[in-house]
């Protein structure tokens, strides 16, 4: 039983990282109906900024987190402005293919700067304490609690502020939002800023748990987070969080109770089965075709 709770804690940690990244996919999809496939690489840049903060600048944890979030926020806003906005009215495939290109560019740009994997020493004092037989590390506690705070902040922005209201309106019917007097471009840029910032935070959380990073870590983690968003219903914010914790739990429990090589097989099978029965995800709604 204690083993189970230990694994549940691990699942919460992994789920939190997936959730922070999945939010970026789902928010961008919400306002643009576009999958930003470079988002996994935004997350990777966040992990490398964690390296820069910890090793190069020798900052402590909170400044490192802020550095990664701010850096990836700027990266997201710049990418939207330079690469996606000019394609706003182009066929959807153009923007999606561009995002794949941006992702490959980021991977190889990072590879150019850092040809070898980087090790990030612990940025928090690393110790574990015992909670009823379950060993809780400072990293786990930080990851879960900070993710919770960031998700709560996002919830408040989306549901309680004017900008959040505009985001929800754009997600519902982008075509007429300008008639409300809402500067759509600015709101879309802000959406990218929020989603990318969360991805940057996820990079730091990930690097704390798996401290050896290379420029390709964003690919598989990005896919997993994207799957989380799809499981929950892409475009739906609560769905992304739900999907992330489900996927995190399935992965950890598979590895805990079955041969660990089954992990991704089980995870992707889950996705395929779910999509047969709920093609719009758990909380997603069937979109009516707009004219």
């Amino acid at each position: 039983m204690i083993y189970f709770f230990q694994q549940a804690l691990n699942a919460a940690q992994l789920g939190s990282v997936y959730a922070l990244i999945a939010l970026g996919y789902t928010m961008v999809y919400g306002v643009l109906s576009m999958i930003n496939f470079a988002h996994g690489d935004f997350f990777m840049v966040g992990a490398f900024l964690c390296f820069v903060g910890v090793v190069v600048l020798q900052l402590s944890f909170i400044p490192v987190l802020l550095l990664a979030m701010a850096g990836v926020t700027m990266l997201g806003v710049a990418t939207e402005r330079v690469a996606y906005r000019p394609l706003r009215n182009a066929p959807k495939a153009s923007a999606i293919i561009t995002s794949l290109g941006v992702g490959i560019f980021l991977e190889h740009f990072t590879l150019g700067l850092s040809p070898y994997p980087k090790y990030i020493p612990p940025v928090l004092p690393s110790f574990s304490f015992n909670a009823g037989g379950v060993s809780v590390s400072t990293f786990q506690l930080a990851t879960i609690s900070i993710s919770f705070i960031l998700m709560l902040a996002l919830y408040l922005v989306v549901n309680k502020t004017r900008v959040g209201l505009a985001m929800r309106a754009i997600s519902a019917d982008r075509g007429i939002v300008p008639l409300m007097g809402v500067p759509v471009d600015k709101i879309i840029a802000l959406t990218f800023a929020l989603g990318s910032g969360l991805g940057g935070a996820a990079g730091v959380m990930y690097a704390m748990a798996y401290p050896v990073i290379d420029p390709y870590i964003g690919i598989i983690i990005g896919w997993k987070a994207f799957i989380s968003a799809v499981i929950g219903g892409i475009g739906n914010i609560r769905g992304a969080v739900l999907g992330a914790y489900i996927l995190g739990t399935v992965e950890i429990m598979t590895a805990a109770f079955l041969p660990s090589t089954y992990r991704d097989l089980v995870a992707f099978s889950l996705l395929l089965i779910l999509l047969i029965f709920r093609p719009h995800g758990l909380l997603g709604r069937a979109e009516s075709q707009k004219v």
Partner: protein, 236 residues
């Protein structure tokens, strides 16, 4: 009276198809002007080009300034509000949120509470439904919400695209009485409407469009008696 809106040489292209071909017209301050024409004549395109939803060539002068290059969201701040065809309220947002979006341009400068009060006094039904999702409203209530949302921006010029579409005859009467109230309160209206008979009773002047061009124009009374208009739009 001076024109509040002066459109000259407006052309709208969708790819290779010209939906509006060098159209010129004006709307004077305090007038109700109606655009008549068959489906596809370019009426909706003209409204969208005036509000900035779609690009057009030619000039669009609003209150003496060329707003042709001004983005749509800034035109709202200048006093142009557009109630789109099919109402297009945000179904998943509450009535309150729909109205607050409509008041976006004034929200930072305050006064939104006052605007909300004004709109809710005008449409008490919306007050009853204040926290309900827009999608749960009846067709007539959705039309009120679409009007209310537009009024939140304190428009000087209200563009209305088929305001009576899909409503029961009783609600059509109600919609036209509301439009008449808007007019009396000092707003200028530019209306696209299938229900030509009703529209001409309200309008001061009208333009008849055919295949993207203006074919006829004149006072509402003149057009009402014009045999061509009577045959094509008044069902005689």
């Amino acid at each position: 009276m001076t024109p509040i809106l002066e459109v000259s040489g407006m052309t709208v292209n969708y790819g290779v198809i010209a939906a509006v071909r060098s159209v010129s017209f004006e709307v004077r301050s305090g007038e109700v002007v109606v655009l008549l024409g068959a489906n596809g004549a370019g009426k909706s395109s003209i409204l969208k080009a005036v509000s900035g939803l779609i690009a057009s060539s030619g000039t669009v002068n609003f209150e003496g300034a060329d707003i042709g290059m001004v983005p749509a969201h800034e035109r709202v701040g200048r006093g142009v509000a557009h109630v789109p065809e099919g109402r297009r309220i945000f179904c998943n947002l509450s009535v309150k949120e729909n109205l607050l979006l409509g008041g976006w341009v004034h929200a930072s400068k305050g006064g939104v509470e006052k605007d909300l009060d004004r709109v809710l006094t005008f449409f008490p039904r919306l007050k009853e439904r204040f926290n309900q999702a827009g999608g749960t409203l009846s067709g007539g209530e959705q039309q009120m919400l679409a009007f209310g949302r537009a009024l939140m921006s304190r428009p000087k010029l209200l563009l209305l695209d088929e305001p009576s579409m899909g409503l029961s005859p009783k609600l059509v009467d109600y919609v036209f009485s509301m439009l008449s109230d808007f007019h009396k309160s000092g707003m200028t209206l530019l209306i696209v409407e299938q229900n030509a008979a009703m529209a001409l009773t309200l309008a001061s002047r009208a333009y008849v469009l055919e295949a993207g061009e203006i074919k006829l124009s004149g006072s509402a009374a003149e057009l009402h008696d014009n045999p061509l208009v009577r045959r094509a739009y008044l069902g005689e």
